[in-house]
């Protein structure tokens, strides 16, 4: 009886352990993804995108955005590692989800993909604004481009845009160059210049503008030219990643399979860049690429092995750290030549680029400055598309002890000589004074 109970407990414990396979420090790729749809038709009309996620091992949970049973967390634990919002016109989420709870979800380090579309709801706009992205306020506005639109048989108002103005980053968009332009049909946004965490991944051409294509323009459009972002990403300080797109249809099977010919060019691409672009972006958002970790931070005096509790000014020291990059399945050595360490007290006293052995180990050595106080070894590594590394290790630095200064200074020899000549003179004088007759 007791044994049976124990085995049940053990099994349930194992089950629990399996259920807990999710985002962790050691395995940073997301696993459980909540997909909020406006309509279940999106599940089939965007199935290629979802399928590519599923084949990469994601566990997608499709829910209607107004499902009254929606919840992001239970008993204080998050049920998901990421959320995909494919519900551009939803006014209120069902269940316990609202804008604040979604932002809290992101604030606790989880990821988000948000696709808006023409006539995006206030709710979606509010979430975007919190992420540093302002969609065009006119609900009927679309991005129009009379110069670089996609030649199409059915759409002739030049709102189907073929854009190839990508961000230059291999880690975000993959190492293979995206040859074909990306099709986009939706609303444009501008990014908040005060927010330096948000980046434009795909921007419109200089001739684009955001307006209602069906009505005459009464005022100059508020968003024009390359200031219009089509797709943006955010990497928060806690490395939570957000993808914001002004178009839901760019994720659709129709766009994934569509060919593209940019107006004014003769090159016709069999397949537009959407699938490659969005697959690579989703890899980035879900931490399959660009995730770094630093381990084994070590420092010691040159020629020693152990880390001292304190350095003396002008000591020579060795510093080393190992940095690895998550490849989606394993940790690979991170290769770069611009990792820097700072020896920091209020401001950096030493800032040095680390050398690498190309196997993940970064090292350098330098002399402790002749200023004493409490210093820090700091590695602040922020690169486009990578998670930021922020390491700091505190270490005090003391001045010379009294007996660590130079013992006999040549310049003082006359003083030493004076004392000794005085002393010998005194000795002779005592004898002579007492005993001379």
């Amino acid at each position: 009886m007791f044994g049976k109970l124990l085995s049940t407990l053990l099994i349930s414990f194992h089950l629990f352990a399996i259920l807990c396979v999710s985002f962790s420090e050691e395995n940073p790729t997301d696993r459980r993804v909540l997909v909020l749809l406006e309509d279940f038709a999106i599940k089939s009309s965007h199935s290629l995108f979802f399928k590519s996620l599923e084949t990469r091992g994601f566990d997608l949970d499709f829910k209607l955005a107004d499902d009254p049973k929606l919840a992001l967390q239970r008993y204080g634990k998050y049920l998901y590692d990421a959320v995909i919002l494919f519900s551009p016109t939803i006014d209120r989420f069902g269940g316990s989800i609202d804008a604040a709870s979604l932002l809290e979800f992101v604030d606790s380090g989880h990821d988000l993909i948000l696709a808006a579309d023409a006539s995006a709801s206030e709710l979606i706009r509010e979430i975007a604004v919190e992420c540093g992205v302002d969609f065009d306020e006119d609900p009927a506005a679309l991005v129009i481009d009379h110069m670089s639109y996609a030649v199409s048989e059915t759409e002739e108002d030049h709102t189907l845009i073929a854009s190839d103005d990508f961000i230059q980053s291999e880690v975000i968009l993959g190492s293979t160059k995206i040859e074909a332009p990306v099709l986009f049909k939706g609303i444009g946004h501008s990014i908040n210049p005060a927010n330096n965490l948000v980046l434009t991944v795909l921007s419109a051409s200089p001739a684009a503008y955001s307006a209602n294509p069906k009505s005459k323009l009464s005022n100059p459009p508020t968003l024009t030219g390359s200031a219009i972002s089509l797709v943006s990403i955010v990497q928060a300080r806690n490395n939570a990643r957000i993808l914001i797109s002004g178009s839901l249809s760019m994720f659709s099977n129709r766009f994934f399979r569509s060919g593209v010919q940019k107006a004014g060019t003769t090159s016709k691409h069999e397949k537009c860049g959407n699938e490659q672009f969005l697959t690579e972006l989703s890899k980035w958002v879900f931490h399959e690429s660009g995730h770094l970790k630093a381990v084994n931070v070590k420092h010691h005096k040159v020629g020693e092995k152990d880390e001292p509790s304190m350095y003396r000014i002008k000591d020579d020291l060795d510093y080393s750290v190992e940095v690895y990059e998550w490849s989606g399945t394993s940790w690979e050595p991170y290769l770069a030549d611009d990792l820097q360490v700072q020896f920091y007290m209020m401001s950096p006293y030493v800032l040095k680029t680390l050398s690498t052995d190309q196997k993940g180990l970064y090292y350098t050595s330098f002399k402790v400055p002749d200023v004493y106080g409490v210093f820090q070894f700091k590695v602040e590594y922020q690169r486009l598309g990578y998670t930021s590394l922020s390491l700091s290790k505190q270490i005090p630095v003391r001045p010379f002890r009294h007996n660590e200064y130079e013992r006999f200074i040549p310049a003082a020899y006359p003083y030493y000589g004076a004392s000794f000549s005085m002393m010998s003179g005194f000795f002779i004088f005592t004898m002579v004074y007492l005993y001379t007759k």
Partner: protein, 571 residues
């Protein structure tokens, strides 16, 4: 996966009644490759017979030649399912459907066995799905073999029990206990009823068929349409089988109505044919009506009339199709000029002709009192004036009192204009007054993302320079100099003929005198030691002992010397 198939099916079945469909594209190579991608068998077979059927049917409908080779495994699974005695009716139905396409080898006895099982379940059926699968199975048997008698003797009774599940709005319930009705169920019911009619051994009551037609008409009252005019049946019921989307509900309804229309003599107005990628027969398109919406987009509603009357039997023509047609043209731009005006009516101070669209590099200068005027005229090929949708200068909206050089760009574009352009015109030097104190500050400009992430410049600590020291030789020279007074002192003593003749001669005072001077030497040596290595406390201790000793021997020696000199004086 089920919904994927139905998406394709709906794309093909554009039902007419009163819907003007949106732009309808014929099946192309891209649809086929998408279908092949969706239905990719995992290790040689699909998961279930239902999925196998969906894959095969899609391939058939789209005319995909290069089917995945699954015949052997699928047939094995079909035979297995059909011969097993414990298979559910639903699986029998799917197996028969797959068999209908693949034509696996089955003998008539097997069919007879299945037929009796299907009839048994039909007699015990109480839910719509039971009816649907049993009747569907029987119809499939009828199509696949002629040796088995599948005719229903009590067709009237069965059709009445199916009809009992219908609702007043034309929708149907899945079973009598469940009050919720759906469009999906309506489609299934109609298909089942069509099956009953085709299987009936005697004529079905005509009044029943008339009621059904009435129901179908009601069903179409509930049709919803998307913005582009495509009709669909919405589905709100979410049951245990998962949500049936509008696509799948519409597909089900269309399938039911089609099946029903096939078996009833009077045809319903349903269009099911579209161009399946094959070339169309010779036909004329008559323009029935032309709408001009706005001033630019013209829509044409056409009706297709076949040249060859024989073709009418093979191809049904449907409804009215609305095809938007766009007329575009090259717009000519002339009399373009840019000018700086002193006031609204004042004569231009500087005026320059522009070549649009072409290369321009104008250099202008202006201050805050002047106006910039850019004028050009657009003409359509037919000679009318043209107002484009996009015509604005790439200028900043507010200057924030920032003087300097501003670039001017002109963008002219419209969806009907073939030669839309974005052209830099040149630059203008603005001389603006200083900002008043309360003026709004210019908004922050976005930072270039690439510049923000580069490595920082290295910092090396500058160590404090060591104090300046005299050269060693100088110190040594002074060391020598410092010893000179000692030598001078010794020389002085020698000159004065200093001597030690007064040293006590008798043993005891002499010992005391020697000990006294050794003590002094020891104190001096202690000082030297203190300088070299000893710390203060050791030194003080030793000095205390030496001091007491010195006091004693010093007192003895000095008092001896004093008494000796007193004797001398008195003597």
């Amino acid at each position: 996966m089920a919904r994927n198939l139905e998406f394709l099916v709906v794309a093909l079945l554009v039902f007419a009644s009163s819907c003007e469909s949106a732009i309808f594209n014929p099946v192309s190579e891209s649809h086929r490759s998408a279908a092949l991608e969706l239905f990719s068998p995992a290790d040689g077979s699909f998961g279930s017979l239902e999925e196998t059927y969906e894959a095969l049917k899609t391939c058939e409908v789209l005319g995909i030649e290069k089917k995945p080779d699954i015949r052997i495994s699928a047939c094995a699974s079909v035979v297995d399912t059909l011969l097993s005695t414990s298979t559910a009716v639903k699986d029998l139905f799917h197996a028969l459907r797959v068999n209908g396409i693949l034509k696996c080898e089955l003998n008539d006895e097997a069919f007879a066995g299945i037929e009796s099982r299907l009839k048994d379940s039909l007699n015990n059926a109480n839910s719509l799905l039971d009816f649907y699968y049993s009747i569907g199975g029987l119809v499939l048997i009828k199509d696949q073999t002629s040796a088995v008698d599948v005719l229903l003797t009590d067709a009237d009774k069965i059709s009445r029990s199916i009809k009992a599940l219908s609702q007043s709005d034309g929708r149907w319930r899945l079973n009598s206990n469940n009050p919720e009705s759906s469009n999906d169920a309506a489609g299934k019911a109609l298909e089942a009823l069509a099956g009953v009619i085709s299987l009936a051994s005697s004529e079905i009551d005509q009044s029943l068929i008339a009621t059904l037609k009435n129901d179908i008409a009601k069903l179409f009252d509930g049709v919803a349409r998307y913005d582009d005019g495509t009709c669909y049946f919405d589905e709100k019921l979410v049951d245990a089988r998962g949500h049936q989307g509008p696509l799948s509900a519409s597909a089900s309804v269309v399938r039911g109505i089609t099946a029903f229309a096939e078996v009833t003599t009077e045809s319903l107005n349903v269009r099911v044919s579209t161009v399946l990628g094959s070339s169309a027969p010779p036909l004329t398109v008559k323009l029935m009506q032309t709408f001009i919406s706005g001033s630019k987009d013209a829509s044409i509603i056409d009706q297709i009339v076949f040249d060859d009357p024989e073709q009418k039997k093979n191809y049904a023509t449907g409804g009215r199709t609305k095809v938007p047609i766009h007329v575009t043209g090259a717009i000519t731009i002339d009399s373009a000029e840019i000018a700086i005006l002193d006031s609204d009516i004042g004569s231009p101070e500087t005026q320059k002709k522009l070549d649009l669209p072409g290369e321009n590099a104008v250099a202008l200068s202006a201050n805050h009192l002047q106006k910039l005027m850019l004028s050009f005229r657009l003409t359509t090929p037919s000679g009318h004036a043209f107002k484009p949708h996009q015509d604005f200068l790439g200028l900043v909206e507010k200057f924030y009192y920032l003087s300097g050089k501003y670039d001017i760009q002109l963008t002219v574009g419209d969806s009907v204009m073939e030669n839309s352009f974005l052209q830099p015109l040149g630059h203008i030097e603005l001389d603006l007054p200083d900002a008043p104190e309360k003026a709004a500050r210019p908004p922050p400009q976005p930072v270039d993302p690439y510049s923000r992430y580069g490595p920082k410049a290295e910092i090396t600590h500058i160590f404090r320079a060591p104090e300046k020291r005299p050269p060693r030789e100088l110190s040594l020279a002074f060391l020598g100099l410092v010893f000179l007074p000692l030598f001078g002192f010794l020389a002085g003593l020698f000159y004065l003929r200093a001597n030690l003749k007064n040293l006590p001669k008798s043993t005891v005072p002499a010992t005391f005198a020697i000990l006294f001077h050794l003590g002094i030497a020891a104190v001096l040596a202690l000082y030297a030691l203190f300088w070299f290595k000893l710390d203060l406390f050791t030194t003080l201790k030793a000095l205390g002992l030496l001091g007491m000793f010195l006091m004693f021997v010093g007192h003895k020696t000095l008092s001896h010397l004093a008494s000796t000199s007193a004797k001398l004086k008195s003597a």
